[in-house]
Symmetry: C2
Subunit: 299 residues, 2 copies
């Protein structure tokens, strides 16, 4: 397989990046990794990855350089920083693939700057959480040139199940924001239905059983509804991460002049969740905010 | 089967009622039907049902009397009207089953009044649309006494697949309102995601493909997303019917003192859809309202 000849760099070994990089390595690609906190590189080093001390060095050894960090400023830093950034090490003809969730203009800027060096950029955010990352079952939404998508695909296939070329540069970021619009409103809907049922004295489990299989059904209902009922707020996806994504959505909607009233409301309530110190809990903690509307007192 | 000895009455042969009654008849129950517009009774008469000219007469011939009408006032009229209502004909020991979507207090009032005659009441609203009604695949959410639920079950099983006893009187109505909270917000979420994607110049089909299988997935996304993309507003479920259900939800939320910010917003936007003359289109017409926010001009 020609894909196996590709040398891969990976920058950013967080909750998502570490299992994603592990899957690339297991699929037989040679892998060079960089992470700000070096201790997180050890499991990959033990498994055969080369560890380097800058994104630039990871890029210098690779045909495909993947990064997976938190927010737009982090992407700019990792990709474009003078001396240490990917752009300082990457060789002509390579492809930089950003799996972070960032603003659409990040794709414009990165593809412009990298383009000057003959390097391609793909925005390729992922969905599916750490469980999906571990299982290699992520959804990957890719923006950029089709020929770059096709070249990067063998590597993406080690990390994900649903891999879709969504359009030109920035389309991947946009589609990920669409994903978060849906996630946030569907999650709020579950919280409101449960809050209503609970106040009416209905058995919440019976409610979930009765409605989950029909037109009211959703991934959020099936997966987070039972957690809300059990008051289990262990994080699958942090409130603060979703809030960050909704802020990016807000900015993009502002730039595009697209009114999104439901998304704006969801953002407000997830901000309340963060303000109420649920930022490092799972997004199902929105249920506590919605129930809290019934009884919150300002002292 | 002891269930087959039950004689069934059916009042209200609309889009939902007609196929539901047909399934009861096909399952071998004897059936007496009443409908305000008598022409709608003909297919059932041809299939062996007895047609009568009042709900009271349908009730007089039946052990289980089902009604399926539009709104709380219709339920009151059909069940409680002097002389012509079910209550005037129904015999002691029978069960009245209301499959309409009505306010929780309708269950309280009907079970009280019928109880004086030794007759039970079950609130048993359904979900699944006319397709689900035809296929006998409805979800049925039932409130009332467990022993009445058990007695009515053989008849309910001819109409539905998921039949859940949700709790005491009124619990079925409440759970149906929970269903509509979820339906309305999930539908709005799809409209916002598509509006955002479209304004950003993204191929909407690629977006749907990329996000439908993951945490953003929902029945609304899979079923109404493609219709929105195709500008197909043919009704599965009328905007005006959902709006009616959201008004009932609003009243119940007011009575229960449960703030439901997302549901209130969805109600407002479905009201806009109705105001913009989309009331007899499918609920996916909310997409036109959301897109219209970008360009609406008051002349």
């Amino acid at each position: 397989m020609s894909g196996h000849k590709l040398r891969v760099g990976f920058v950013g070994l967080g909750i998502m990046g570490q299992p994603m990089a592990g899957n690339i390595l297991r699929a037989g690609f040679s892998l060079t990794v960089y992470n700000r906190t070096i201790s997180r590189t050890e499991p990959l080093k033990d498994a055969g990855a080369v560890v380097v001390d800058s994104p630039a060095k990871a890029a210098a050894e690779s045909d495909i350089v993947i990064c997976c960090v938190s927010d737009s400023p982090d992407v700019y830093h990792v990709v474009l920083a003078e001396k240490t950034g990917i752009i300082s090490g990457v060789r002509k003809g390579s492809i930089v693939v950003d799996c972070s969730t960032a603003a659409p203009e990040v794709a414009t800027k990165c593809s412009q700057e990298l383009g000057k060096k003959g390097v391609s950029f793909l925005d390729a955010p992922v969905s599916g959480g750490d469980a999906g990352a571990k299982a290699g079952m992520l959804s990957i939404m890719v923006g950029g040139r089709k020929e770059d998508f096709d070249r990067a695909r063998p590597v993406l296939e080690t990390m994900g199940k649903t891999i879709v070329h969504c359009g030109s540069s920035g389309a991947g970021y946009i589609v990920k924001l669409c994903n978060q619009i849906l996630v946030s409103m569907n999650c709020l809907a579950v919280a409101e239905a449960l809050s209503f049922a609970q106040k009416a004295g209905i058995d919440s489990k019976a409610m979930l059983q009765a409605v989950s299989g029909g037109a009211a059904g959703s991934w959020q209902l099936s997966n987070l509804g039972p957690k809300m009922v059990a008051d289990d707020y262990a994080p699958g996806f942090f409130v603060d991460y979703l809030l960050k994504d909704l802020c990016i959505t807000h900015g993009a909607a502002q730039d595009l002049k697209v009114p999104l009233p439901g998304t704006a409301l969801a953002e407000t309530l997830f901000r309340a969740a963060s303000a109420q110190s649920f930022g490092r809990e799972g997004t199902q903690a929105i249920y506590k905010v919605v129930r809290g509307l019934q009884r919150q007192q300002v002292s």
